[in-house]
Assembly symmetry: C2
Homo-oligomer: 124 residues x 2
């Protein structure tokens, strides 16, 4: 499978809560990192569990996917009842067997823009 | 130029404050958006000015670049004296002339991880 296909299957498996399918896409020694919190999970079982235990009746949709042969970047829309919709951004590296070896996961939050550039922008 | 080459040249032009070079990489009607602040800048002159007026003696380094033919995603390390180092994430779409037509720019901030997953992760 191409990185694009594998990464799309990764998000589909998570959205379906298909933890066996998710596990088959991951390298044994996959590393998952959240740089904003300095959290790291090592290994297939840990990464599957991290996703399986994520609380809420959430669903996700892939909104952007950029892929090379063995790397990809995605944005997802993440919706969970009672919570504001969020955008997640992830970068993936695949190993020589086409399994996901590294995931870097980002969750940007809304913030107030600096007032000193208000003359340069429009808002929506 | 490929999207990878164009996007690398985009960041190099910004880091060098070479606003003429930056302008040559942008479509006339380029759109720059910061979804976290709901800010939008339309047009080459506006996008150049937005970057030219960004305050500080900052420098940036491209840390990840994933590119297809006409799309790319990057992470940059952004360092400005007196401020914490930041990571910027951007997604680019190029037009048929190979110019940058759309930029989506994200600036994730550190946050405290939920306590209920502390048993699933290591910290760094």
């Amino acid at each position: 499978m191409s990185a694009a296909t594998t990464v799309r299957a990764f998000w589909e498996a998570i959205d379906r809560r298909d933890w066996d399918a998710l596990g088959r896409l991951l390298a044994d020694d996959v590393v998952y990192e959240v740089p904003q919190t300095r959290e790291r999970v090592r290994g297939r079982a840990g990464v599957v569990r991290f996703n399986a235990e994520y609380p809420g009746e959430w669903h996700l949709t892939v909104t952007t996917l950029v892929a090379e042969a063995d790397r990809a970047a995605t944005t997802i829309g993440f919706a969970s009842p009672g919570l504001p919709d969020q955008t997640g951004i992830a970068f993936f590296t695949l190993d020589d067997d086409g399994r996901i070896a590294r995931i870097e996961d980002w969750w940007p939050e809304p913030y107030e823009p600096p007032a000193d550039r208000a003359h340069l922008v429009e808002r929506w």
